[in-house]
Symmetry: C2
């Protein structure tokens, strides 16, 4: 089963794709999408959308895992993050891939073991779990891989069923609805 | 000159297209995009994006005018609005149409005459300015038309030049950058 994690951001959007049988995971690809400096905000959204659409077409994952956001530093950063996350969800829906969402604490708990883990610990665990030689860089890529790993660790069996069920219609919809 | 106003929202996205010579405006089309009840959040984004993309292809406006948002009731509603606004900006960028953004108070000032006008007053002025028989409904459509009218009223001359200049490259970029 191939899982594609996304860590959306208007400055940089991380992605990480893993192949897994439920217990052993293999890194397929990871990285971050970043628009050149001085790119307008609309064009940053274009870069995120086009980049993710092309990666989803290339890797054809069974499922997209993305962090669910409930909090932000302030309204402005929530708005910016919302824009980036909106085009990321759109790219997944257009590609017909099921979308699963996890709260930040769920991801940390599933990957590191406790919900208040720090960025560095997440990177180290991602490195260990995927048998990598170094922590994936930039940290957005490691965070995206963490969401993908979280999806396997927390609900592999249940999710595999859910994805199988939602795959019945020609285009998949999100089976865990966005609930901000 | 054809101007396409957008009033984005995750529940309902209003749009309004007008044709203008700078002083006289004519309604081309207006309405609101709304996904059926119980549609998942990702699919709502699909409806907004597909609807706007098709309308922009149909009407081929010279410019898209959209409200710039700096405030929201809370972080959650900012996140939701951000998602909808993100896919709206993406549709405009993908269509190669210049995007102009106005603060809510600018729109009210340009349409009604003062920055604290109420929804009803905006609807009435839109009806008057476009010579309509009734206030456009739903109010999201009237709000979208107000942004379009604001663009004409506040900077028709300057904008006509700017759009002309930015039309030189094959694909237009936003000349008034998003600044949340």
């Amino acid at each position: 089963m191939k899982i594609f994690g996304i860590d959306p951001g208007s400055e940089r959007t991380g992605y990480g794709c893993i192949d897994t049988d439920g217990s052993r995971h293999r890194l397929v690809a990871c990285g971050a999408l970043k628009a050149p400096a001085h790119t307008s905000f609309s064009d940053r959204l274009l870069v995120i959308h086009a980049g993710l659409s092309s990666l989803l077409a290339q890797h054809r994952p069974d499922c997209v895992a993305i962090e669910n956001v409930f909090h932000a530093r302030n309204v402005r950063s929530a708005l910016k993050l919302g824009h980036a996350r909106g085009v990321a969800l759109l790219a997944a829906s257009q590609a017909g891939v099921a979308v699963v969402e996890y709260a930040p604490a769920e991801i940390k708990r599933a990957v590191v073991g406790f919900g208040r883990a720090e960025k560095q610990q997440i990177g180290q665990m991602v490195k260990l779990l995927l048998g990598l030689e170094a922590v994936p860089s930039p940290h957005d890529a490691a965070d995206a891989l963490a969401v993908a790993v979280c999806h396997v660790h927390s609900s592999f069996g249940a999710v595999a069923d859910a994805v199988h069920q939602t795959r019945a219609p020609s285009r998949l919809t999100s089976w865990r609805h966005y609930r901000p």
